[in-house]
């Protein structure tokens, strides 16, 4: 299939000349504001200076020492509202493309086959990490660098979390993921995939079975649901199911369902964008984004929204889904909606959608993807019953250390913050790794 290669691969990043030219524009600020703005302390001010000074290995080292997923962040971070937002060069034109330089440098490390870290003195205390998403990987790498034997337990067949089973492959491809995972593996981290931590007190039992500390980063793999009266038997997906299917070997199957058809996606966040744009790229005839507020209230990044328009997505703003229409075999045939208008602001500061009476209508569609939010899996706290959680099942952890209410158990990433960013999970993993070392000293 012709689309498949485009779909599976990211666009190439900067080459050497482009990266050097971009770094040449950097003003090499005193107390670089970009560095302060990075949630994971990746230090763009320093690595760009190092590139400028022909200290390329050093530049890569700066990235990877501070952020073992520096490549993933270079590709996936919404830099326009992080480091690049603070760039002083904006004052004389436009910001430096920091994310692209970062990606370039990390790719260089693979091309040059660099070994960036010294072998540490081995430690005895075993550490367990639950979940191999960005949070788990970052914590594991940080502790492995310090010589601890670390085991990562992963429920799914392969490591990576959202990076493997969430983000669409044309934004973050398998080849890139494998290389960055290779950086973690080369530190000596052990992965146990297809190994779900579950059952009563599953996490706590790790502590009893020889692990000195546990880091929980299981992410958010439950889907918020529209909860209609009647669910179709065919044609309805949650974003979690749909996106995972694109990456776990069922791409061709999904593509054949989508091609030439009408698809609707419900939601206004970044995940909805991945769903809708991918459906368009897979050859759907018409793709509709259904969102109950308007353009300005959408949580998705501006560049993602514009890109989706360019991919041919039709925007059905100010429409609220109410249920599904099905045929006699209970297969989906349409999405029922009502029109809305914007009223007063709600808690989130965005204007609240109000239903317009008697405005019901139905959009013909054979596939609908609900992308209205990820949440903790409903049984999650069964395997850590003594770890305090809030009413959304998010773990209560100290933001500076990841410490939970159970000694020896630390947590970070989306399971603590709610839906956040790769770079936030990386930082949580780093902070927890530090706190775990402190904890082990006591």
């Amino acid at each position: 299939m012709s689309y498949a290669d485009n779909f599976k691969k990211m666009k190439p990043g900067l080459d050497f000349g482009q990266a050097v030219a971009e770094a040449d524009r950097c003003l090499l600020c005193h107390e670089p504001p970009c560095s302060t703005a990075c949630p994971a302390n990746t230090q763009p001010g320093t690595f760009i200076r190092k590139l400028r000074m022909k200290n390329i290995t050093g530049a890569i080292r700066t990235i990877k020492e501070n952020n073992i997923l520096g490549g993933a962040c270079g590709v996936l971070c919404p830099t326009a509202r992080l480091c690049e937002k603070e760039c002083s060069a904006t004052g004389i034109g436009r910001p430096i493309e920091i994310g692209k330089i970062q990606r370039f440098l990390v790719e260089q490390s693979w091309e040059r086959n660099l070994n960036l870290f010294d072998t540490p003195n081995p430690r005895n205390e075993k550490i367990a990490v639950v979940g191999s998403g960005p949070g788990g990987l970052s914590c594991a790498a940080e502790l492995a660098k310090k010589g601890f034997p670390v085991t990562v337990f992963e429920a799914r067949p392969e490591p990576g979390g959202v990076l493997r089973y969430g983000v669409v492959s044309y934004r973050f491809d398998l080849d890139f993921l494998e290389k960055e995972l290779g950086d973690v593996k080369s530190l000596g981290v052990e992965f146990k995939c297809n190994t779900r931590i579950e059952g009563d007190r599953g996490a706590e039992k790790l502590l009893e079975n020889g692990y000195s500390a546990v880091f929980l980063a299981p992410g958010l793999w439950g889907a918020m649901r529209l909860a209609p009266e009647k669910e179709p038997s065919e044609g309805l997906f949650t974003s979690v199911e749909y996106l995972a299917a694109l990456r776990d070997g069922r791409l061709e199957e999904i593509a054949s369902q989508v091609e030439g058809k009408t698809v609707a996606v419900i939601g206004g966040g970044s995940v909805a964008m991945d769903c809708i744009e991918s459906a368009a790229k897979l050859g759907a005839e018409d793709v509709y984004l259904v969102y109950r507020r308007s353009w300005m209230q959408m949580p998705a990044e501006e560049d993602e929204r514009i890109e989706s328009l360019e991919a041919g997505v039709h925007y059905l703003l100010l429409n609220q889904p109410t249920g599904y229409r099905t045929d006699e075999k209970n297969r989906l045939t349409g999405l029922k909606m009502v029109r809305t208008r914007l009223g007063e602001s709600d808690d989130s500061g965005r204007r609240r959608p109000e239903v317009i009476p008697e405005s019901e209508w139905t959009l013909d569609a054979v596939m609908v993807i609900e992308a209205i939010g990820n949440r903790a899996e409903s049984d999650s706290s069964r395997w850590y019953p003594n770890v305090d959680v809030d009413d959304k099942l998010l773990i209560k952890a100290d933001p500076e250390t990841g410490t939970t209410s159970t000694p020896g158990i630390f947590a970070g990433g989306d399971i603590v913050r709610g839906p956040a960013l790769v770079v936030n999970a990386v930082q949580d993993g780093k902070l927890a790794a530090k706190a775990i070392q402190e904890y082990l000293k006591e």
């Binding site: 080459d15 022909k54 200290n55 390329i56 290995t57 080292r61 010294d118």
Partner: protein, 440 residues
Amino acid sequence: MPGKDIDLSIEFLGKTFKNPFLLSSSPVSNSAEMVARSFDAGWSGVVFKTLNSDRLPIIHPSPRMNSYHYGDKRLVGLQNVEQISDRPLKDNLVDFLYLKKHYPDHILISSIMGFSNDEWAYLAKASEDNGADMLELNFSCPHMCIEGTGHHVGKAFDLIEKFTATVKSTVSIPIIAKMTPNITDMNEPAMYAKNGGADAISAINTVSGISEIGLDDLVPKPNVFGVGAVSGTSGPAIKPIGLHFIADMAKCDDLALPLSGIGGIETWVDALEYILLGSSTIQVTTGIIHYGYRIVEDMIEGLSDFMREKGIARVQDLVGRALENVKTTNHFDLDRQGISQYDLDRCVGCGQCYTVCMDAAGQALEWDAKNRRPRLIEEKCLSCMICSFVCPVPDLITFKEMPQTWNRKETAVMDPDLEKEIAHEPFIATSTEGGNECLC
């Protein structure tokens, strides 16, 4: 930071420097407060701003520098009319004491310049008595107008020997002679310094130059209230000059003195080039004027990574390693010839190669206007490679050797018919002077 396995330390005049990177004598080494911060950043030693004896007041012109920009590139060169230190000698010496007390493992080199034998001796003694580990004799400041000072000494070779000998007989610490590049052959004055007792040579000081003239007032810059002057150029623009003098001295068997390389160093690559040509230490001013002390971090890390990659453990083992490859041009094998080759898949279609090949080379390119691509006529390529210098895509144009059977086409004459009108006899040499080979 990389590897415990890499040893950047270097022996120079009996002292161990923890790395080869020093501040050169200039505003970047003007006070203990500054030097202390540079040591904290990673520099291993300093040549302090040239002392004065308080005999004459030193007043710097204002403004005292001008930047030589090239297009968007800032500071490819720097023009300065600064004098030696304007601080009282006592203050500089108190700062020496501070640095030796707080940074005993860092090397303090005192730069001095006198106007007479006794003044040289006086400054040398004061430096030694207040903790200087070594002396650098400044025979090279280009802003001294009085005969017998600055680069006037550097050009009057007997004075170099005389003043060096005076200092040598006054102090027991090692002596470095700092040379001016404003001469043709540096080996000769360096030999005078050696004969006077110098233990090492440092080079280069600034190159005499004019880099910019104000187009409204017609005054060279820096414009000191309507007056400009020939003054000292430093920075990346002068690196080729510094490298050449260092290589010459390193290859001079009679001289055989340790060298400290200076001139246009910003990155570890520049520093390494000076080391490969025979410098044991290197010194920096304009690089710091441009970027600050922080660049030493990249010098340390960059050089360490290079050494690790090449499997070289000690920086000492790099000193002079490229010298055997610096030969005179008569060693070239002219039977081997090559041409340029183009990887047109990556071409962006700017056509700069075509422009320069037409106007400055062999007219070896044709221009496919429709597709905006050059086409190489191999037998016309001169292998000057200027097309590759202007090509914006890295390594799109590269050099390749041609087989011995290949021949370059001679440049055609415009109108062969005019040959019958030519007034010309072939040259027949009447003497053997000048040898039988020429390459110039």
